[in-house]
């Protein structure tokens, strides 16, 4: 990864990136407001051409820390290089702009994050639960998740 090129690209759009040291692939911590612009640049720019969004990961750092993270794994097929983008969100009412307009694969990945963590992706075309039933209560991968007692009159816990 050519860090200098990447820095100059980001500087052109007034983004002050923070490198996360000792991480593989190269990891960039960016502000959530900058995310759509940076993604658009990385996707468009002929020097990088990150044409594939391999994975989006959600992360709940717990009530003590009070933050949530969304991590984007980008891959450029023509240049064979990877980049990781990290966005930190507040734990209360977490919202971030959707990137599904840039990468189609983000659609279902973001739905999964929404399903498990309750992070809202703004301007997502179809933000519904993807794995759990539509009328499920709560977001199971949050650290303070409390299972509901029953679902449609069926007990969740086993009868011992």
């Amino acid at each position: 990864m050519d860090r200098e090129k990447l820095l100059s690209l980001l500087a052109s759009s007034n983004v002050k990136p923070q490198w996360v040291e000792n991480s593989n692939p190269t990891t960039l911590l960016i502000d959530k407001i900058d995310l759509p612009g940076v993604c658009q640049q990385l996707w468009n720019n002929p020097d990088f051409f990150f044409d594939q969004l391999s994975c989006i990961t959600g992360l709940d750092c717990g009530p003590e820390t009070g933050t949530m993270e969304v991590i984007y794994n980008l891959y450029s097929i023509p240049f064979n290089q990877s980049l990781m983008l990290k966005v930190v969100l507040p734990r209360e009412n977490p919202e971030v702009e959707s990137v599904s307009a840039i990468w189609k694969s983000a659609n279902w990945l973001e739905r999964e994050i929404f399903d498990m963590y309750g992070i809202k992706f703004l301007n997502h075309p179809d933000l519904r639960r993807i794995l759990l039933p539509a009328d499920w209560e709560g977001f199971p991968l949050k650290k303070d998740y409390q299972e509901q007692e029953t679902y449609r009159n069926i007990k969740l816990a086993p009868e011992s």
Partner: protein, 185 residues
């Protein structure tokens, strides 16, 4: 576990599938006339061609598929997997039942025509299996959704064990009568 499964399959596999053992009571020479009880005839026709609905929802489905292959030959019991609930006779629930899937299972069960039977295959659909304690998304037993006739233990059960379960279902059908309503579950 495997040894246990084999044992149970062997012990329950002794019931005969031979028509003459239970259906035909008498025959008169070469006249082509047979006398039997209506119950026996109905039961024999029902149990001899149980079409299972293909319902593979987890790894148990691999063993279910294996049951259909030549070494185990499900076809010898007149069983061929059927992809529609409308013509299926038995639903073999092969795998983990999540709450999201439970809706679909119930609907497909309701779409099946009577008489219909359910075999719960494997620990997951019996009682939740490995998701017993921490699987918030798993129904702790498919019998909370639909009535189950036969439970086949194992994780996953070997094809022999599933065939053992099918034999048990045959036994159950053999004891039915049209004069009494079928005991659901």
């Amino acid at each position: 576990m495997q040894e246990q499964n084999r044992q149970s399959a062997v012990s329950s596999g002794q019931a005969s599938n031979n028509v003459e053992d239970f259906a035909y009571k008498e025959s008169f020479g070469n006249s082509g006339l047979i006398i039997t009880q209506l119950d026996n005839l109905l039961n024999w026709s029902r149990l001899s061609s149980l079409f299972p609905m293909t319902f593979g929802i987890a790894c148990c489905a691999i063993e279910f598929m294996s049951t259909g292959t030549t070494p185990f030959d499900m076809d010898r019991f007149g069983m061929a997997p059927f992809a529609s609930p409308r013509q299926a006779d038995v639903m073999i629930v092969a795998g983990t039942v999540t709450f999201k899937m439970a809706d679909r299972i119930k609907r497909l069960y309701e779409q099946m025509a009577d008489p219909k039977y359910v075999i719960s295959m494997g620990s997951c659909s019996n009682c939740g299996g490995p998701y017993w304690q921490h699987g918030y998304h798993v129904v702790k037993g498919v019998d909370k959704i639909i009535p189950v006739d036969v439970y086949v233990p194992g994780c996953p059960p070997r094809p022999e064990a599933l065939i053992g379960g099918i034999m048990k279902l045959h036994d159950k059908i053999r004891g039915e009568s049209i004069m009494t309503s079928r005991n659901n579950g």
